[in-house]
Structures are given as structure tokens and as C-alpha cells.
Symmetry: C2
Subunit: 260 residues, 2 copies
């Protein structure tokens, strides 16, 4: 696929909404945002914003209603378990002005998984969705996520979230894959800043970022170019490699990230 073709395809946008006191209290290191970001880039959806909100309905409603109007998709994580602090289903219902009730299809899934004797009222809470929501398969632990319009509601437990995410992304419209090329070397970023700014200006269709690092007490920089235009990526990366090699002859392209 040529770059001129891929450039004609519009890239959908997305926001991630992480719901959970445990992230804001510091108890839990979130890993879901990174997993979602990688997956969306792979399929050609641009992740444009993320928010973390506490388990407070008004906060969830406000964030959902802002984000679902701004972006093609909103993906939420957290708050769909069986306990009192799991208020995501009610909050999504409130955001859309929809009643929340036991979803017969979700109840069937829980019934098959737990059996009638173990389908307690607490577990049945996990069958509640806004009326009319579509279910998202949960191959790990049965209790499904759900989707209302452009908002996809997933679990917070990382392995369950990732399994749901695979099912979610299969149904999203998407643009061309967003490729990424990294050039890295033992070069202080300030040494290449001026020349890099010139390259970034000439390749305006790419996002070019500079990320310093330290290894064995030596300073280095990774210059990362991202975009859907493979031809531009190839040319910009060659220029960036030549620039970095002026200061470190061993500077190299991470070819694994992109077939140059």
C-alpha cells in the first residue's frame, strides 16, 4: 500500500478512561493504558487522550460524556465486578440516560459459568448493563463487558481486560497501521535538537519525538518517528540515523519496529 493511498484513509481517534480509586491512591500501577495504546496503534486507531477518575458516578459520567463526543471511540477499564465499588454499569447508563437492568444474555453466560447454585446475588450484579448494550466476550471469567454506542466497557483486571480488548478491536473501524521507527545512540539530545527540529518541520506528516535515557551511567537518546506514511518514515529515519551517527558511529535503527 503506497503512502499516498494510506494518507487518504482517515485515522479514527480514541480515548481511554481508567476508572478506579486504586490507581489514584497509588495501590495499583496501571498497565492497561499501555496495552491498549499498543493495540490501537497496531490496528490504526490514534489514542488521543487518557483519563483516570475515581469510583464516583458524577466523575465517570462527566468524563464519558466529554470523551464520547470528542473521539471516535472511548474504551473504559475497571468497575464492572460484583462489589459495592463497581459502579461503572450504572454510571454508563446515567451518561447515556439509559436504565440499567439485568441483561438476559449476560445472565445466561454467568449461569453457564457458575451454575444455578452458585449464581449469587453479588455475581448477578455482573449481569447488569444499560438496556440495549451489546456484550463483550470475556473468555477468562465469563462476566462480560459491554458496549453502548461508541463506548466500550472492559474489566480492570489486566488479563481479563486484554482478552476483552482483542474482541473489541476486531470490531473497530480503523485507518492504516501507525508505524514507529526508533533511532538510538549514546548522544545527548541537546546535541541533535536543532537539526532534529528541522527534520520534524520537513516531515510534518510524522510525529517525531526525542526521549533521553541513561545506560551504565552514559547518556543516550532515542529519536522516534511515528506515522502512517511509510515512505516518509523511511526517508526521515535515514536522515535521523545519519544525524545521530555524526555523534555516535554505533547509533542504530530499531529495524524490528518497521521494515525499512
Amino acid at each position: 500500500m503506497s503512502s499516498s493511498n494510506t494518507d487518504n484513509v482517515q485515522t479514527p481517534t480514541a480515548a481511554v478512561l481508567i476508572i478506579g480509586n486504586e490507581i489514584l491512591s497509588g495501590r495499583t500501577q496501571d498497565v492497561n493504558l499501555n496495552a491498549i495504546a499498543i493495540k490501537l496503534a497496531e490496528i490504526g486507531v490514534r489514542l488521543s487522550e487518557a483519563r483516570v477518575v475515581p469510583d464516583i458516578q458524577e466523575e465517570i459520567v462527566n468524563a464519558v460524556n466529554t470523551l464520547r463526543q470528542r473521539y471516535t471511540y472511548v474504551l473504559t477499564t475497571g468497575g464492572i465486578g460484583p462489589t459495592h465499588d463497581d459502579i461503572t454499569a450504572d454510571s454508563i447508563g446515567a451518561a447515556f440516560g439509559l436504565a440499567v437492568a439485568e441483561n438476559p444474555a449476560a445472565r445466561d453466560r454467568l449461569l453457564r459459568s457458575y451454575g444455578a447454585e452458585n449464581l449469587t446475588p453479588a455475581r448477578l450484579r455482573m449481569a447488569r448493563t444499560p438496556v440495549g448494550a451489546e456484550l463483550i466476550d470475556n473468555p477468562v471469567s465469563a462476566a462480560p463487558g459491554f458496549c453502548v454506542e461508541n463506548v466500550y466497557v472492559m474489566a480492570g483486571v489486566p488479563n481479563i481486560m486484554r482478552a476483552m480488548l482483542d474482541n473489541v478491536v476486531a470490531g473497530l473501524k480503523h485507518g492504516p497501521k501507525i508505524h514507529s521507527v526508533s533511532v538510538s545512540g549514546f548522544v545527548a539530545e541537546s546535541l541533535v535538537a536543532a537539526a532534529l527540529e528541522d527534520i520534524a518541520r520537513r516531515y510534518g506528516m510524522l510525529d517525531i519525538g526525542s526521549y533521553p535515557w541513561v545506560r551504565s551511567a552514559r547518556h543516550g537518546t532515542a529519536l522516534v518517528s511515528r506515522g502512517t506514511d511509510q515512505d516518509a518514515l523511511r526517508k526521515a529515519s535515514a536522515e535521523i540515523l545519519a544525524l545521530m551517527q555524526q555523534f555516535d558511529a554505533q547509533a542504530s535503527i530499531n529495524e524490528a519496529s518497521f521494515p525499512l
Copy 2:
């Protein structure tokens, strides 16, 4: 300090704003939010929201102006390096309607660190702040962060961010420390959901959360109570421990988190 005294002290609130394409592209797993969350809880500041925005001035300005009006403090990470994608200083200036210029004190710090012969124009970019900003010490690599009113601007590189954060929190007003007690055992959370909801209702001054986990293919749950009222925490945790031990005699309190 008795709980009735600590309850009279109002707990300030904070938001974290993570600035950087690399988080949204999936290139980088953020670890700064968790470090900030832990530190703020330790000193008695309630982290109420977090956002991740790309390196786009309008997005940064809108987020800063929303968050600084809602919360006592805003802490930002990222975008204060020497390259073209480091636009945080200009964005904070725009948010406050302040000009951005070379800060003489910041220039002095860079001069001492790099020496006159190595203080290139790119490095000097790191001395630019909104006019009137106060500097935040950077003991790792000299280039300072800065503060305008209630907005604290820190680096994105984690070890530099943490060093700056230690200097920031020393100057924040704060309430009583927010304590956390975790009770954990091999108990499915749905088994304790109803009783836990009752406990949570009776201890409304605490945040009580339920977090399922899997270890060696066995399911368990951590029930976490948080708050400033040590007496309530002690009583609620004892009730939660008794509840969990009905299902797992080995269920235990993480006493390291709180002196019971």
C-alpha cells in the same frame, strides 16, 4: 493525634497531568503517576484525577486550565527537555497568559552544570519559563522544573521526576496522612460483596475497595480501606478480617501498611 482532630483538617486535592505522545503511542509505560500517587497519599494530599495529553499546546492549555481551577494542586510531568517536542513551558505560559522567557536563575544553574562552552542554544531552551515562575530543584541533571501559582511542572524522566517531586511535596500544604489497610485471602470477592457493602455503608468516612487477584491459579481478593480516621480504619479492618476469615482462616491484614 485522634481521629476527631485529623478529621477537622481539610485534605487538599491534586490532579496529575502527564504530557507526552510516548505514553499515548504505547512506546512508554508510565510509572510517574504511581510514584506521585504514593507520595501524595503519604503526605495527606488526595489525588483526585489524572489525565494524559499529547504534545499539542491547545490540549495542554485546556487540561491545565480545567484542572487548576478544580483542584488545590496540579502536578505535570514531561515536555521540559531541549528538543522541538518539549512544549510544556510555552503551554503553561499560554494557560496563564504569561510571556515565556529565559529565566536568569535557571540559566545560572545550567551554566554551572554545563560550563559556558557547552551551554548550547538547545540546552538554553531548558532555562525558559513563564515570567515569574518559581524554580523546582533538579539535583539529577540541573535543568529545573518550575511552578506557576498551583501548577508544578516536572520532568518526565522518572528518576528526575522523583527527585523534583521530593522538593515539590516539601512545600505543599497537606492534611493528615491517608492510611491504607489491606485484608487479603483466598476468597472470591462475590462471596463477601453483600457484607462488605454493609461495612462500607457504616464506615462512610473510609474508601473501601475490593480487588480480585489470582495466585497459582487460585482466586483471591484484597479488601482495601483508606482514610485519615485511624480509629475507624482499625475497627473496619477488624470487621473485614473477621468476614474474610469466615471463608479463609488464613486471611490476613497487611500490617506493614498501618500500625493497628
